[in-house]
């Protein structure tokens, strides 16, 4: 992993706020979500389908690994030069008639956007699906200021009408099946009636009719951006439905919220990402709509064009050499679709706008590892590595998960300064909790186990001694030769699984008495066999008779 010093300012980075904090720890939230059998079936079906499509279209590209390498290298270059690139982007965007706003965190971004909308005199805006606006909880903030934001992406609309939360980066309503969607439309769209079927075509048509009027009558749109091209000041939105194109072209005012990590240096760099992104996300060779706009074009499209450059914890991620490649993420969601933990627990269990493996490393880094329950997220993985294999920009998610677990342990042991707490009341641990976090702590059961295991496992002699206790475990297992209950933390194992009765003797201790019995062993097995001397590539199938 690259540990290049990037000359980061030494001030403490500002952590992110908004929809980034889990309110409940992951194991508890996951347990609750897993009780929803319908949701699990929906997610299982959908992720397996997208997974298969992705694998097929990736397979057909002979240079897929080279593309991944290029995508990763370009992002590394961006992160190494981010301040300069951002200033260049601002200069070029401004020169083409746009206005650039800088937002340190969610609150600043929300305030800027609200003021821009209020200045137009409207109270209705349309929205393009955007992770950044979900991250800052824009819709709720606007509602508090009397502004209604209507989602125009079909899946986001389903989530919005269902008063629900997104559970997937690309497919926010992945946890709903078409029958559930029909029910939502029937109860929330006045223009529908019982004749509506649950056929995808009918559902899409109902949404289209519902939205068409909005597109034609609304004068302000809010979007995110997939990429910002530094050398030209161009913004890009990649989508499937065409609703984004409507939002980006029909209104008078266009406000785009873009995370500061979304830059690419040159227009040509898009070539790499526009191949990586659709194949990784929807399993398509190309996405149907790629919209690009560069400032204002007189007489064509929005004449009042803004971009809000959002930090909200990204600088904090950038400041950590071992974790910063999380900022390479292009939000394709391939890691979610292959993740067995996501498949079981669903997106809501992660408690953040960013679910799945990427969320498990991004959310706690953006908020700081000590924030609320986010410190449980790096443990929400079996470290199987499927996410790293599919990541189009080669983010080594398992390695960062392990790094964050280490950060968490160090923070709990008081080796790291605690992050500032979330400014809202509901999920902050309160004064007592905050004091508790700062005090030296009694070692946890895990601490004790790890320390003990470290002592034993760092010496063959101590291992041999400890293994002399194996017969005790055998006694514990009893006549059915299975241990089915253990106390404390180990109970997490025996809640779900038996442990077989341990052997009488460890291999090490057995070997001490039997190492020399090679001849007996070979004879008992039927005699020796001789494979001709290996020639690596040129192995042979010849055999000796037993």
């Amino acid at each position: 992993m690259s540990r290049t010093a990037l000359g980061m300012p030494t001030i403490r980075p500002v952590h992110g706020h908004g929809n980034l904090h889990a309110d409940v720890d992951f194991p508890t939230a996951a347990k609750e979500e897993m009780a929803n059998i319908q949701m699990r079936a929906n997610i299982r079906h959908a992720t397996h389908t997208i997974r298969g499509k992705r694998a097929r279209v990736v397979e057909e590209l002979p240079d897929w690994q080279e593309l991944r390498t290029a995508g990763s290298a370009l992002k590394e270059q961006v992160m190494a030069n981010l301040p300069e690139l951002l200033e260049q982007f601002e200069k070029n965007f401004t020169a083409r008639g746009g206005t650039v706003h800088w937002a340190r965190d969610a609150a600043e971004a929300n305030r800027i956007i609200t003021e821009l909308i209020e200045a137009t005199g409207t109270t209705d805006v349309i929205k393009v699906k955007s992770m950044a606006t979900a991250e800052i909880d824009l819709e709720r903030h606007l509602a508090e200021h009397g502004i209604t934001a209507t989602e125009t992406d079909l899946a986001e609309l389903i989530v919005q009408l269902g008063h629900d939360r997104s559970s997937h980066i690309l497919v926010p309503a992945i946890h709903k099946n078409r029958h559930e969607i029909r029910d939502i439309f029937l109860s929330e769209m006045p223009e529908t009636d019982d004749s509506l079927t649950s056929e995808p075509r009918d559902l899409a048509e109902a949404a289209r009719a519902h939205l068409r009027e909005k597109f034609l009558s609304t004068s302000v749109a809010v979007s995110g951006a997939n990429f910002g091209v530094t050398e030209t000041g161009t913004l890009t939105v990649v989508e499937s439905e065409g609703n984004g194109r409507m939002c980006l072209t029909l209104p008078d005012t266009l406000i785009t919220v873009m995370g500061i990590e979304k830059l690419v240096p040159t227009f040509q760099d898009l070539e790499v990402y526009l191949q990586l992104l659709p194949r990784s996300s929807t399993g398509e060779r190309m996405n149907p709509y790629t919209s690009m706009w560069t400032g204002v074009t007189p007489g064509d499209g929005p004449q009042d064009v803004h971009v809000v450059l959002l930090d909200n914890g990204r600088s904090a991620v950038l400041a950590d050499p071992a974790g910063r490649s999380a900022l390479h993420c292009i939000r394709c969601s391939a890691c979610l679709n292959v993740c067995p933990v996501y498949e079981q627990a669903g997106g809501h269990a992660y408690g953040s706008t960013y679910p799945g493996p990427i969320g498990a490393i991004l959310s706690p880094q953006m908020t700081g590892i000590t924030a609320a329950e986010n410190s449980s997220l790096p443990y929400a993985s079996s470290l199987c590595g499927a996410c790293y294999d599919v990541c189009p920009v080669k983010i080594n998610i398992p390695e960062i998960l392990v790094h964050l677990r280490d950060e968490d342990v160090r923070t709990r042991h008081g080796e790291r300064p605690p992050t500032e707490q979330r400014p809202t009341e509901e999920a902050s641990p309160g004064l007592a909790g905050r004091l508790f976090r700062r005090l030296p702590r009694v070692p946890s059961e895990m601490d004790v186990m790890m320390k003990g295991a470290s002592t034993v496992m760092s010496s063959g002699r101590r291992m041999a001694l400890a293994e002399k206790a194996l017969p005790l475990g055998r006694a514990l297992a009893g006549r059915d030769r299975a241990i089915s209950w253990l106390p404390g933390m180990a109970g997490g194992w025996t809640d779900e699984r038996d442990i077989p009765a341990p052997p009488r003797e460890s291999f090490r201790n057995w070997w001490a008495d039997h190492a020399a019995e090679t001849e007996d062993r070979v004879r008992q097995d039927g005699g020796s066999r001789h494979v001709p001397a290996p020639d690596r590539a040129d192995h042979t199938d010849e055999e000796d008779s037993p």
Binding site: V341, L383, S454, A464, E496, A501, R508, R529
Partner: protein, 295 residues
């Protein structure tokens, strides 16, 4: 060749038969197996739980034990532990500020092979029946553990060896490349999700009709086997080293209560008749006499 066995902590303490199976396969081929007595653990449990400081002495011990010993190559019957040597030990050493240790760890890792890697890539074994005399007349499916698959890129080495065992009826596992849900301390820190993942894996195993699911990592097999035992599933798990070690003269017994101990020479039994391998007739659970060596 003089081959150093890195048993791994879980095999050493819980599955000595898997270590013995590894020894038997290699001795049968005429190699000398040594067991560096200072060995402990690869440190993966500590690293994956976030305890890098506590991992450091474990790494130091492993590197010391396998640097001091005299051997040509080292082998371990675990994809995960071998992957940890190369992917984690140098990182732990560097995090602890010990560059010399990191380089030594890289050197030890570079000469340590997972069992199927050693057999296929170094020793040229590709036909277990022909070259090892392996014989195991049972229906078997195979779960490729994640770290062997994704960190070591073992591809089909383990599976191909198992398929080439005499008398063995191989059945493919659906969604084989999905994690079984073990994940070290994940299995009890997130025990509900882990159990749900195991459940799915077990359903797939049962759907194959196999008597046994084999694999190359005792930890995953312990987790799956334990969950199967709790659910009363007929199938069980067994490490592929034990299948490769099994011969007509000294076959691996799979009926009777679970027994992880290394059998004493007197308890060896004659070769049992092959059991029918039709999926619809699972093995009797309360069978009789012999202790079975499966996990």
């Amino acid at each position: 060749m003089r081959i150093a066995l890195f048993a791994t902590c879980i095999v050493d303490a819980l599955y000595p038969r898997v270590a013995l199976a590894t020894v038997r396969i290699l001795e049968r081929l005429g190699h000398e197996v040594v067991f560096p007595s200072g060995q402990g653990c690869c440190s993966q449990m500590h690293v994956n739980s976030g305890y890098l400081d506590d991992a450091l002495p474990v790494v130091r011990n492993h590197v010391r034990a396998f640097t001091a010993a005299d051997y040509d190559v080292a082998v371990a019957p675990s994809g995960s532990c071998v992957a940890s040597l190369g992917h984690q030990q140098p990182m732990v050493a560097r995090a602890g500020g010990d560059e010399d240790l990191a380089r030594m760890a890289e050197s030890v890792a570079g000469n340590t092979y997972e069992l199927s890697q050693l057999l296929v890539d170094v020793l040229g074994v590709t036909d277990a029946a022909g070259q090892l005399g392996s014989w195991f007349p049972h229906t078997v499916t195979y779960h490729p553990s994640c770290h062997g698959m994704r960190l070591l890129r073992l591809d089909d080495r383990q599976k191909d060896l198992v398929r080439s065992v005499g008398g063995l009826d191989y059945v493919e596992l659906p969604d084989a490349d999905e994690c079984c849900g073990f994940g070290g301390t994940f299995s009890f820190k997130n025990s509900d999700v882990s159990a749900a993942m195991a459940e799915e894996k077990i359903e797939n195993i049962v759907s194959t009709g196999a008597e046994l699911c084999t694999g190359g990592d005792a930890s995953c097999l312990l987790h799956l086997g334990g969950a199967m035992s709790r659910r009363g599933t007929e199938a069980a798990t067994v490490h592929f080293a034990e299948i490769l070690a099994s011969t007509q003269q000294n076959p691996l017994e799979i009926s009777g209560p679970v027994e992880l101990s290394i059998p004493s020479p007197s308890s060896r039994r004659p070769c049992p008749p092959a059991r029918p391998s039709t999926p619809s007739t699972p093995a009797p659970t309360t069978a009789p006499t012999a202790d079975r060596g499966v996990l």
